[in-house]
Symmetry: C2
Subunit: 233 residues, 2 copies
């Protein structure tokens, strides 16, 4: 795939904290966003909330998941893993041929805390790719804490967004989007199959959050900002 | 388990780059170390190499894996995953009752690069715990690049060592060791089962290393050094 439009972004699961937070940061960076939800009215309400937040610099609208997807070239999947396969399958026609960014974290919780769920496809991102073969799937945004994304005062520029995928052009596009979301670095983490490592790492972050009463995120050492920028440019 | 001696550390796989590097950093911090190897002569040679490096502040010796383990209260497993179960099983008597720190990364490599291997027990750390039920297993040190550990000039204090385990006292002991290894932060990452996330994350780091021609490592955002130190103290 040689080119991706830089137009609007649809966020499937756009009324959940992760989806809404990513949408807010994208809109602040000037990307038109359409929040998708199973319930178009809820999506419209959530889009109104986002429009009232400081710094929004692009249109934010709400629609059904399917309408949101149909109107966008780039689609963020920001849904819980529970029900993920069914939802992606139900949107398969609309998702065909699109750039799909999987932000899904397959996690379980029990009295021992959070843990990574076993996923037959390897990862939620690979599961989506298997369900919509004509889409180009990239994994990203697994580790950004939703409350920080939604906090207008929170500076995320010290957090790395790790991006994985098998299509170089699609990955390059998502690296740009990711840098726009945080104002910091986006890192090419390798092949799509490494989503199997990125997704459940969130269980470690949640565990650390509980232990240290914080909102932790990921940064890699050994990378200069300049080196990463050069690669993205 | 209420108390762990702070005496010498045995490093099973002490002639490999990861084991040798961890041993060097421990010896620099004043911990007596015994390198273990299948071949005691190779272990003796490697210990001589380490003694010649700058800053070594404690005895460094070499022995067979079994002798090394028998003489130490704390044992680092720093071996490749290939052959891990057989090796641990062969040392089970010697490992009984000890504090065992698993540094093992179950990784595969193919033309697509590195990837996390599927481990029936969940992780190498849990595999070791299953093979030696009387040992207390903690996971740590998965993400420190061996060439940096062995480079006397390399400053590792900006890297986080993520430590997981189910025994609070054992984990506290390893958090101290880990901070000694890097001179920086050690982070309580949660339950031992989260080794299933920490171990294969190394595949992402290796992928990033190749992409950006660096030696990457992990740091978490959202944790102040003070907060972590207070928890350790």
């Amino acid at each position: 795939m040689s080119d991706f439009p830089t137009g609007g972004v649809a966020v499937v699961g756009g009324t959940g904290p992760q989806g809404k937070g990513l949408a807010y940061r994208l809109a602040r960076a000037g990307h038109p966003v359409v929040l998708g939800s199973r319930d178009a009215d809820r999506a419209a309400d959530a889009s109104g909330e986002l429009r009232s937040l400081p710094g929004v610099a692009a249109p934010v609208d709400g629609a059904s998941n399917e309408d949101a997807v149909r109107g966008a070239a780039t689609v963020l999947l920001a849904v819980p893993y529970q029900g993920h396969a069914e939802l992606v399958a139900s949107l398969a026609d609309a998702l065909a041929g699109k750039l799909v960014v999987s932000c899904v974290n397959p996690l379980g919780f029990d009295k021992g805390g959070p843990y990574g769920l076993s996923v037959a496809a390897g990862s939620a991102a690979e599961e989506a790719a298997g369900l919509v073969p004509s889409a180009v799937v990239v994994g990203a945004f697994h580790h950004l804490a939703a409350p920080l994304l939604l906090d207008p005062e929170a500076d995320l520029s010290h957090e790395d967004v790790l991006v994985c995928g098998d299509d170089a052009d699609a990955k390059a596009r998502v690296l740009v989007l990711a840098a726009d979301v945080t104002g910091g670095r986006a890192v090419d983490a390798g092949r799509l199959r490494l989503a199997a490592q990125l997704e459940p790492l969130t269980a470690v972050l949640i565990s650390v959050n509980k232990r240290y009463k914080t909102r932790s995120g990921v940064a890699l050492t050994g990378l200069t900002p300049a080196a990463v920028k050069e690669e993205v440019a």
